[in-house]
């Protein structure tokens, strides 16, 4: 069983994506033997009204709820976000959030965002934060969106100990408290592996040593990214089969009660 906690549907404003419909993503997943994937709207990254992207995803995944697990993109500074959250959770069955503080231009520490964290936590929703949407060096001439600094994530997980976070598309965790052993932080976050090295510096192995295999999850970033590099990391990772199984699926299944 493989569960991908980092997948997307829809269009991205700055590059054509393939495999971005439910049907074509499932076809890709079949070819890679990926059983389930958490998906959110790629369009909602740049839509002003992110809820339109959530509606598109809800429509796409209809009939595929056994394999595609939708997450909502919510901007806590946009009018009506509380209504959107309620609809996404109660009507669309979205089990978690994807937040883009830099793309949507807000601070994770702002009162509005804290209110969103609390509301999502009360609903039992998982909160995932992509550290980046794409490599900043290939950015459009129109904008310059930085990665979410890991220091801001440190403050976030401390401020919301009861929330559950999945950190996506990140790297360099071992260089900050998030990836260090006995870091004094709550164990309320897990780290997705798509950008982590599994050889040479082997940040993935270091995270397993420092935090435990329970704190790492498999993710690909498809269809932004090829799924194969993430699969190759699991192949070459020097870890027990039991630990690999946790990373491959068990941790995500537990967090999402699948």
């Amino acid at each position: 069983m493989i569960v991908d906690v980092n997948a997307y549907l829809g269009h991205f404003a700055f590059r054509r994506l393939r495999h971005n419909t439910a049907a074509s993503l499932l076809e890709l997943m079949d070819s890679k033997r990926i059983d389930k994937a958490i998906v959110s709207s790629a369009s909602a990254i740049t839509y002003r009204n992110a809820q339109a992207g959530n509606e598109e995803v809800a429509e796409e995944v209809r009939g595929h709820s056994d394999r595609l697990i939708p997450f909502a993109v919510i901007n806590p500074f946009y009018a009506g976000w509380k209504d959107d959250l309620k609809i996404c959770h109660e009507e669309f069955g979205m089990a978690g959030l994807r937040l883009y503080p830099k793309w949507h231009n807000y601070q994770l520490s702002s009162p509005c965002c804290r209110e969103l964290m609390n509301a999502a936590t009360e609903r039992g929703m998982v909160i995932s934060i992509p550290i980046r949407a794409e490599d900043n060096r290939q950015r459009s001439w129109l904008l310059n969106v930085p990665d979410v600094p890991l220091e801001e994530i440190v403050e976030l997980v401390k401020a919301h100990p009861k929330a559950r976070f999945i950190l996506l598309n990140g790297i360099g965790y071992t260089g900050c408290p998030l990836g260090r052993k006995d870091n004094g932080l709550p164990s309320n976050y897990t780290i997705e592996l798509s950008r982590l090295s599994a050889v040479l510096a082997n940040e993935l192995g270091q995270l397993i040593t420092n935090l435990g295999a329970e704190r790492v999850m498999f993710g690909t970033g498809m269809p932004f990214k090829y799924p194969d590099p993430a699969l190759a990391k699991l192949e070459v990772l020097d870890a027990s089969e039991s630990d690999k199984e946790k990373i491959r699926s068990r941790n995500a299944m537990t967090w999402l009660s699948l």
Binding site: M1, I2, R15, R16, L17, R18, H19, D30, S31, K32, R33, I34, D35, E134, D135, N136, R137, Q138, R139, S140, W141, N144, R195, S197, A198, V199, L200, G221, M222, P223, F224, K225, Y226, P227, D228, P229, A230, L231, A232, K233, L234, E235, V236, E241, R248
Partner: protein, 314 residues
């Protein structure tokens, strides 16, 4: 240890003979015979990754066209070099075309000569696994040319690595390119294209510069480094469409889906070279994931680089 197949619903396939197993076996046999531990690639048969091709295929040599040995100012250089080879073993990479770069640029003549001595030493420490690029700063003129002649002629280096000391269209670079034409070896040119000025690399080359250089020297074998190195890869691929003597190195940390397929469609699969530039699973993964035939993938993984290396004149 065999690399396990990751399976989901269907029963897990029986462990199959992998390239890694065979590499290790070949290495042990070779070591016992006292010869270089380079496997006979033509004997290897590997099952393709699920969904990437229609059946088993005969696999040829896999050559990483863009790799680096560690500068020895770093205390862990020896272990780091060994880790590179171990990573190559795990991922089924037979050979790595390596340069050693100075930690800071512009490199001095002493600096690049020292790097090249270390690269030559790396070729001795990992015989048959490490192939050497001669790194020079073209600004040193005669000294740079002498170093290339020494490295290619006497040390068996396979090509020249140019970094960002000069944009590749600057006249100071021309004698270097002319010498590589004389020797029949490629130039791997550091390159990227961003839609903003890269402050710390003001003389960065991009695909457009390489296309211009290729028009000036149609006999040269030019390699545009790491099209997945962070810049706008769609721009780079399009800029190189009409530059038939520029090959595109697929290395870099970016694993955007569709990169390899677009490159194959625009410039042709014969002009693509597999590389990692230290992003090992990214390098292998994007070739595995590309929607291309097994034969085309083999060209990218090693066939095209082999073809390039056979053009050496001495």
């Amino acid at each position: 240890m065999a690399i396990p197949q990751i399976a989901s619903g269907p029963p897990a396939p029986q462990p199959h003979v992998t390239r890694r197993t065979l590499l290790k076996g070949a290495a042990a046999t070779a070591a016992a015979m006292g010869v270089a531990a380079l496997p006979s690639a033509s004997a290897v048969v590997e099952l393709p990754a699920p969904g990437t091709s229609s059946g088993p295929f005969r696999k040829g040599k896999v050559i990483d066209c863009h790799a680096h040995l560690t500068h020895r100012s770093r205390a862990t250089w020896e272990a780091d070099d060994r880790k590179l080879i171990e990573a190559a073993d795990k991922l089924g990479i037979d050979q790595l075309c390596c340069s050693t770069l100075t930690p800071r640029r512009p490199a001095t003549a002493d600096g690049f000569r020292q790097c090249n001595r270390w690269t030559a030493d790396g070729m001795r420490r990992f015989p048959g696994r490490v192939l050497g690029y001669c790194y020079v700063n073209p600004g040193y003129g005669r000294e740079a040319l002498e170093e290339i002649r020494h490295c290619v002629g006497d040390r068996g280096f396979i090509g020249v690595k140019l970094y960002n000391e000069y944009t590749c269209t600057e006249p100071v670079v021309f004698p270097i390119v002319e010498l590589t034409i004389e020797l029949g070896v490629p130039v791997l040119q550091h390159a990227s294209h961003s839609h903003y000025f890269v402050q710390d690399q003001p003389r960065m080359s991009d695909g457009g510069h390489l296309a211009e250089l290729a028009r000036r020297y149609p006999e040269a074998m030019l390699i545009c480094a790491h099209i997945s190195g962070g810049g706008d890869w769609e721009w780079t691929i399009k800029a190189l469409r009409h530059a038939p003597n520029v090959l595109l190195d697929t290395s870099g940390s970016v694993t955007d889906e569709g990169t390899v397929e677009m490159a194959a469609a625009v410039v042709g699969v014969d002009r693509l070279l597999f590389g990692c530039d230290s992003s090992m699973t990214a390098g292998i993964g994007k070739i595995r994931g590309a929607d291309l035939s097994a034969q085309d993938k083999q060209k990218i993984l090693g066939g095209n680089m082999m073809r390039l290396l056979r053009r050496r004149k001495s």
